[in-house]
Every structure is written in structure tokens, then in C-alpha cells.
């Protein structure tokens, strides 16, 4: 068997680390662990954040610059990649660790700066301004005047359990994962626990599905465990189809072995010998990293036949989802895996009783599964202490939109949304006023800024009429138009509905038509006076009830969420659009009718030349005229007119 290029070649040492209890480690082994986990390095280490968003922000170019720098100077350094540290708005991120010194991270760098930064750092000088912070370690020498990450509010207020090693370790290295305590949970399970005991441990921990439904994971496993069958399956749901959610991707790119170990444990608990990761095709980086991780795990014997002589067999394969939001829904996902259109089916029977190829199948989310190794190693009671009340553990949020800091935020369950959005993400950007947030993806809810004191917890959010969803938070400032946003989500749902059932297919379409009428000029005479628009809007509330009540799957049931919650909290904005035909945030430009004041227009032609729709006609030196049918309300004419002759009502 060929050896993977992603291991250090110290397989025996690494396995010893995994198999022995930490109390049994010899000092020699501890030293090796420190090197393997790169807590200590023997030569300089340069790490570049090459997660997807890091790459888009220019990570690849940074890597090239670093490699060029190193080879030009023939330096003996390690260059390696890492995942997302979580602060997406400050990517790309470069980390440097010199022997004996703490690791220091630089943010928002461009490739030209790389030689300057590295020159400085190799001369033990900290380049001013570019640094983000250093990672505390009591055995290593800290840098002067550089804050520790755990002192920066963005990190200090988080409790990073699953994200702990993301952006720190090399995700491709199984050795580094094991050296940091990885696979000990799985080995413990297959050596000391029965299938059922693992189910019970997870049940006791109170772990609930992180995809948003809040179903007790242990209960689902028990159902599958108790359904007798010659074959069972575990499917990891890595479709992550909510726009604005990227925590699963960060976990897969930042620490794939954590997920693989979670899958191993879950498969063991239910007695599945085949596991699949259903992942969206666009996640190229995640797929690449998972493939390598699976290969390494197989090489080390964590996957395969008779794993560590336990008699347990497991293989993991990756299935690339060809892209449909609804395929995140578990029965649609299974249909897709079976080579069908991803249309959900009615439950019961639940997949845990009858799933993939009609066999018991447990489907869990990436984040859910990534929690499992920690629970098995540290015990369910420990997990319980992390959260509050019925919600245990931590939850990762992906914050995007108009927040000061966007990225991934992991907090214990029970933390208030306010603390996530204002204290950690820094509230609205550029001194703007925070209007509210949208939480839970396209079928999530809108909450105004003064309602953010809700704790992060499935039940509390439900009571407040909101949902946790996968944990995507879109931060909205005063410049965001709520009606436009709601229309956007409704359009999205209407395109993503599988179309199978009437309430969802037709209901989302009707809703989207009505909303589009509100934010646009009427398309034809058929639609609508303001009263009509208002009546339509009122009928939507009733329609929403029926959609919730009768749609086959969660997509249709939850599609009205953004609309209904915003009608509760932001009704005034709807009324402004409907009655005054005015968008207070200046987003719905098509509502405006522009006209040119004949008195002021000199006929300079500039507006006609600049109009992208050729909607302005006239003859030079005479007043011009805007053809309102053609005008899309972009407002360019108003901007370019030197005589302030363009107005809108």
C-alpha cells in the first residue's frame, strides 16, 4: 500500500498516542506529541488560511508569494495550509511560528506585503498594523505589543469547542489531529463500549441536531439501532444549502478528521457499516480534504475491515450533490443518493426506520457529528455543563451581511443573540445603525435590534417566533430594505421548492408575485391599486397558515417564516411601500418615477447618453423627457444632471 504524502511517516508513534491514555505518556512521547501537534516547532512554520473564502480573498496568491520568498532565499521552513480561523472579513490570513515563539497571525494581507512581513518577522520584528494577534502558549515566548487572540473581543467571548483547531492545524494531517487528542474517542468506544452505550451517552449529553430541527440525536440513533436489518447506513448531511451558512464547510475544511471521527462513532452506535457524506459539488476544497482524510484514516486503520480488532467494519464514501436546496431535506437527500429527482417523501416511515435503499439510515448534520468525539472523550455530563437548560453544548453561527466582523462564531447554547451580534460580531459596520438580524437561512426569521435578548436555544427561539436553523445570521443595518430582503428570500424559496406539493409550489409563487408587485412598478394593468396590494398582503398571512399546515416537507412549511416575522416586526416598511410607494431605505429603486423638470433642463444630453435603458429622449438644447415604461429607476440621470433637473416622486 502506498503511503499517503500527508502523514509524517511516524505512524507507530502516532498510533501509540491515540491508543494510550494521556497519563501513560512517557516524557519522550510528550515531546513528540508537542512536535507533531506543532505546539512546538523545530524550524519556522508558515501557515496560510486556504479555506474557500480565504482563497477567494487571495490566499492562493499569498501562498505563491510565500513559496517564492522561501525558495529565493533557500530557507529551511515548513509551509503549510490551514482552515478558517473564523474571521472571514479579515481574510486572507497568514500565520508564522518561529521556534520557541508563539504563533502570530496577520490579516488582510496582499501578496506584495508578504516579503516585507516575513523579512521583519524573521528578524524578530513585528510588522506594525498587519497583525491580528498571537496564540497564547505558556511554554512559548510571546511577542511584545501583540494582543493574544483570547483578548480580542471577537475570540474572547466565544467558546470554541469544534472550531478550536480550525485555522490552527493543518487539516490534511491526521498526525496533527491525533497528537491533539483525536481518534481517542473512537478507540475508546470500540474497545470499551457497546453500540447501545454510545447511543445512551449521546442521548444523555442532550446533543440536538445542529441543522435546526433540534431533534435529540441520541433518540434518532436509538430508533435506528432498534430497527433490525441486515444493513444500516449513516449519512452525513453536508449539503449546507442555506445561502449564508458556512459553518459546515469551515468544519470540513478546517478539521476534517473531527468529522470523520464523528462519523465513525455514529456508525458504530447504530451498527452501520457503510457511511456516506453527501456534500454539495461546489465544496471542492471540502471534498478534496475529506478525500485525503478518509484515505489517511483508512491507512491508519480507523476505517476498513475489523477496525483495531474490534470486529467493527466501516467504509466512508463521498457523494457529490448536484445542487438543489431541497436536497438538504433528508428524504430528498436519500432520493438524490438513489439517483432520483430530489423530491421529499412523506414521513413516517422515518429514515431511521426506512431510509437509503429502504434500510435504516441515520442522517446527521456535519456540526452535529463533529460534536460526538468530544462528548465521548469528555463525557455527557461535561457536555451538559456547556449549555443551558435543555440546550447543551455550543452552536456555531456564520455571520454575514452588514456586521463589523463577519465569519464564524461559536458560543455556548444559551448565550444571547445580542452578545453574538453586538458584542462578538461588533454590530453594524461603519457606524451605521443596527436594524435587526435575519437568522436561520432563507426559511428563517427576521428580528429587530431590540429583540435580540433571546438566548440561543431551540425552544427559546421558537417561543419568540423565530428559528435557529443552521445558524446563519445576516446582520441588517439601516440601509437594508426589509421588503426587498423578504422578497429575495421568497424568490429563492420559490425557485428551490421541489414543486411536488401544491401549497409550497403554488404558495411560494403567489407570495413572490405579490411581494414583487409591492417592490416594483406594476407590470400590467391587471395589478393593483394600493388597496389591492394591501388585501393581497393580508391574504398572505392566511395562506402562510395553510402552507405551514399542509406542506409536505420543511421547505414549504417554513417558507413563509421571513414574511410572517417581518410583518410582525417591520410592518411599517410594508405599509410605506404599499401606500406611499416609497422605500425608506432607498433600495427599491423601481418604485420611483423619475421625471425631468422642463424649466430646469437645458437639453445638455448627458442624461440621455448615460441612461442604461435608453429611456430618455429629446432633442439637444430642448428639455428632455423620461419614458416611464422604460425607466427602471436606477437614478443615474439624477446623479449625472449638472442642473439638478431630474426629480422623482
Amino acid at each position: 500500500m502506498s503511503k499517503s504524502p500527508y502523514t509524517t511517516g511516524l505512524k507507530d508513534v502516532v498510533l501509540e498516542v491515540a491508543i494510550k491514555q494521556p497519563s501513560e505518556y512517557s516524557t519522550g512521547l510528550i515531546r513528540k506529541i508537542e512536535l507533531l501537534s506543532r505546539v512546538r516547532v523545530e524550524k519556522p512554520l508558515i501557515m496560510i488560511g486556504l479555506n474557500t473564502s480565504g482563497k477567494i480573498a487571495g490566499g492562493d496568491r499569498i501562498k505563491m508569494a510565500v513559496e517564492e520568498y522561501v525558495s529565493d532565499r533557500k530557507l529551511d521552513v515548513d509551509v503549510s495550509e490551514t482552515g478558517a480561523i473564523g474571521l472571514a472579513s479579515r481574510e486572507p490570513i497568514l500565520g508564522v511560528q518561529l521556534p520557541g515563539r508563539t504563533r502570530i497571525l496577520f490579516a488582510e494581507i496582499v501578496e506584495e506585503e508578504v516579503p516585507l512581513i516575513l523579512d521583519d518577522i524573521f528578524h524578530q520584528i513585528v510588522p506594525k498594523e498587519k497583525f491580528l494577534g498571537q496564540i497564547r502558549h505558556d511554554k512559548l515566548d510571546p511577542w511584545m505589543d501583540v494582543p493574544f487572540l483570547d483578548e480580542i473581543p471577537f475570540f474572547a467571548l466565544q467558546n470554541r469547542l469544534l472550531l478550536r483547531d480550525c485555522g490552527i492545524i493543518d487539516p490534511l494531517s491526521i498526525d496533527e489531529y491525533i497528537a491533539r487528542g483525536g481518534y481517542r474517542g473512537f478507540l475508546k468506544a470500540i474497545r470499551n463500549y457497546t453500540y447501545e452505550e454510545i447511543c445512551s451517552i449521546v442521548l444523555m449529553s442532550g446533543l440536538k441536531g445542529r441543522s435546526g430541527n433540534g431533534f435529540l440525536t441520541g433518540e434518532k440513533w436509538k430508533l435506528a439501532y432498534n430497527t433490525s436489518s441486515d444493513q444500516k447506513y449513516l449519512v452525513c448531511n453536508a449539503e449546507e444549502s442555506d445561502p449564508g451558512a458556512f459553518m459546515d464547510r469551515a468544519l470540513m475544511e478546517g478539521n476534517p478528521h473531527q468529522l470523520i471521527e464523528g462519523i465513525c462513532l455514529a456508525s458504530y452506535a447504530i451498527g452501520a457499516t457503510k457511511a456516506y457524506i453527501y456534500i454539495r459539488t461546489e465544496y471542492l476544497e471540502s471534498i478534496r480534504k475529506l478525500e485525503i482524510a478518509i484515505e489517511s484514516a483508512r491507512e491508519y486503520g480507523f476505517l476498513g475491515h475489523n477496525i483495531f480488532s474490534s470486529g467493527f467494519n466501516l467504509s466512508i464514501s463521498i457523494r457529490k450533490g448536484p445542487g438543489a436546496f431541497v436536497c438538504g431535506e433528508e428524504t430528498a437527500l436519500l432520493a438524490s443518493m438513489e439517483g432520483r429527482r430530489g423530491m421529499p417523501r412523506s414521513k413516517p416511515p422515518y429514515p431511521a426506520e426506512r431510509g437509503f435503499h429502504r434500510k435504516p439510515t441515520v442522517i446527521n448534520n456535519v456540526e452535529t457529528l463533529s460534536n460526538v468525539p468530544h462528548i465521548v472523550v469528555n463525557g455527557p455530563e461535561w457536555f451538559d455543563t456547556l449549555g443551558s437548560g435543555h440546550c447543551t453544548g455550543t452552536k456555531i453561527f456564520s455571520v454575514s451581511g452588514r456586521a463589523k466582523h463577519t465569519g464564524l462564531i461559536e458560543v455556548p447554547m444559551g448565550t444571547s443573540l445580542e452578545s453574538v451580534v453586538v458584542d462578538i460580531a461588533g454590530g453594524a459596520r461603519e457606524g451605521k445603525k443596527l436594524k435587526g438580524i435575519h437568522i436561520g437561512g432563507p426559511s428563517g426569521c427576521l428580528l429587530p435590534a431590540d429583540k435580540l435578548d433571546i438566548p440561543v436555544c431551540f425552544d427559546a427561539l421558537k417561543d419568540a417566533g423565530a428559528v435557529l436553523g443552521a445558524g446563519g445570521i445576516l446582520v441588517l443595518d439601516e440601509k437594508v430594505c426589509i421588503v426587498d430582503l423578504v422578497t429575495y428570500f421568497m424568490d429563492f424559496m420559490q425557485q428551490q421548492s421541489c414543486g411536488k406539493c401544491i401549497p409550497c409550489r403554488e404558495g411560494t409563487l403567489r407570495m413572490s408575485e405579490i411581494l414583487n408587485d409591492i417592490i416594483r412598478k406594476p407590470l400590467d394593468d391587471e395589478s393593483h391599486s394600493s388597496l389591492d396590494r394591501f388585501k393581497s398582503l393580508m391574504s398572505l398571512e392566511k395562506l402562510a397558515d395553510v402552507m405551514r399546515d399542509t406542506s409536505l416537507c420543511g421547505l414549504g412549511q417554513m417558507a413563509p417564516n421571513p414574511l410572517i416575522s417581518s410583518l410582525t416586526y417591520f410592518r411599517k416598511e410594508f405599509e410605506d411601500h404599499i401606500f406611499d410607494r416609497n422605500c425608506p431605505s432607498n433600495v427599491c429603486k423601481e418604485l420611483r418615477t423619475y421625471y425631468i423638470d422642463v424649466e430646469l433642463c437645458t437639453g445638455c444630453t448627458i442624461c440621455a447618453k448615460k441612461c442604461p435603458e435608453d429611456a430618455i429622449i429629446g432633442t439637444e438644447k430642448h428639455p428632455y423627457f423620461i419614458v416611464s415604461e422604460k425607466c427602471t429607476g436606477c437614478g443615474i440621470c439624477k446623479d449625472v444632471c449638472k442642473f439638478s433637473a431630474v426629480f422623482y416622486n
Binding site: 474557500t52 473564502s53 482563497k55 477567494i56 480573498a57 472571514a88 472579513s89 481574510e91 444549502s241 442555506d242 445561502p243 449564508g244 458556512f246 464547510r249 459539488t281 461546489e282 465544496y283 457523494r319 457529490k320 450533490g321 448536484p322 445542487g323 438543489a324 436546496f325 438524490s336 443518493m337 438513489e338 439517483g339 432520483r340 429527482r341 430530489g342 423530491m343 456564520s398 454575514s400 451581511g401 452588514r402 463577519t406 465569519g407 435575519h438 432563507p442 446563519g472 445576516l474 441588517l476 437594508v480 430582503l485 429575495y488 428570500f489 429563492f492 428551490q496 421541489c498 442604461p612 436606477c634
Partner: protein, 153 residues
Amino acid sequence: MGKTEEILNQFHQVSRDVLIPMLQAVQDECGYLSEEAIEKIGSHLSLPASKIYGLATFYNQFRFAPTGKFHIQVCNGSACHLDHSISILKELFKHLGIRDGETTRDGMFSLEVLACIGACGQSPVIAINGVYYPKVKAGMIKDILEITKLKSS
């Protein structure tokens, strides 16, 4: 043996389970799914062409015509939407004279709208043949297209 057959023979399993992976492999190789390819896959797996076509039209990934030399993807995820990705899209419509899902007549550009490219921190984002342009503005579109065209000649 044709390209499609070669791809099909790489699959050991012959069942509906591998339909999607097969379509993906064929599209990766040929750029799109032709009628012939669908027919071949159908007879290989004993599946009616209508079922394969019906399946392929369900998912975003599959195409039935080749893309342009430059494939432009515009992200319209929630973060990009807040940052006016629609005006960028309109700008592209205007300059290219095509809608999303179409290819220009000279075969140079094709346009696709995605729900989330995955760079919400850099919004709005577009990608041309896999090269990303973070934080674009509608005003930059013309130049980006010009430069892209130059690259091809």
C-alpha cells in the same frame, strides 16, 4: 470506444445509484450533457431517457448546452444580495445581451447565478472561469469583461 463509453466503463456498479456520479463525470469531461450521452447512459443503466433528463433538470449542476469560453458565475447569496448583486447581474445582462443560463452567440461568455459562492465576507462576488472577483461594483463590470476578452486573444 467513445469518450462517454469510456467514462461509463469506469463505474463498477451498474445501478441507478451511480446515475448522478455518471452524469457528473460525463459533464466534467464533455462540458455538458448531450442527447447522445443521455441515451448512452440510459441504455447502460437500463433507464428511460425521460427519467435521466427529468433528474438532470432538477439539479443546478447539469447543463444541456456547452458553456461559453468564459463562464461567469454571479453570486446571489443573501450577503451578496444585500450588497446589490442584482445590479451587477443587470450590468452583465446589458453588456453581454444574454440572461442567466444562456451563452452569447459567439460562444464567448455564458452566465450563471449561484445561490452562494461561499465568500460572504467578500460580497458581492463574481467568478469567471473559477477566478474570483471579490467586492465588485457594477461600474467595474465593463472593465472586467474587456480584460477577460483581451486575455483570450
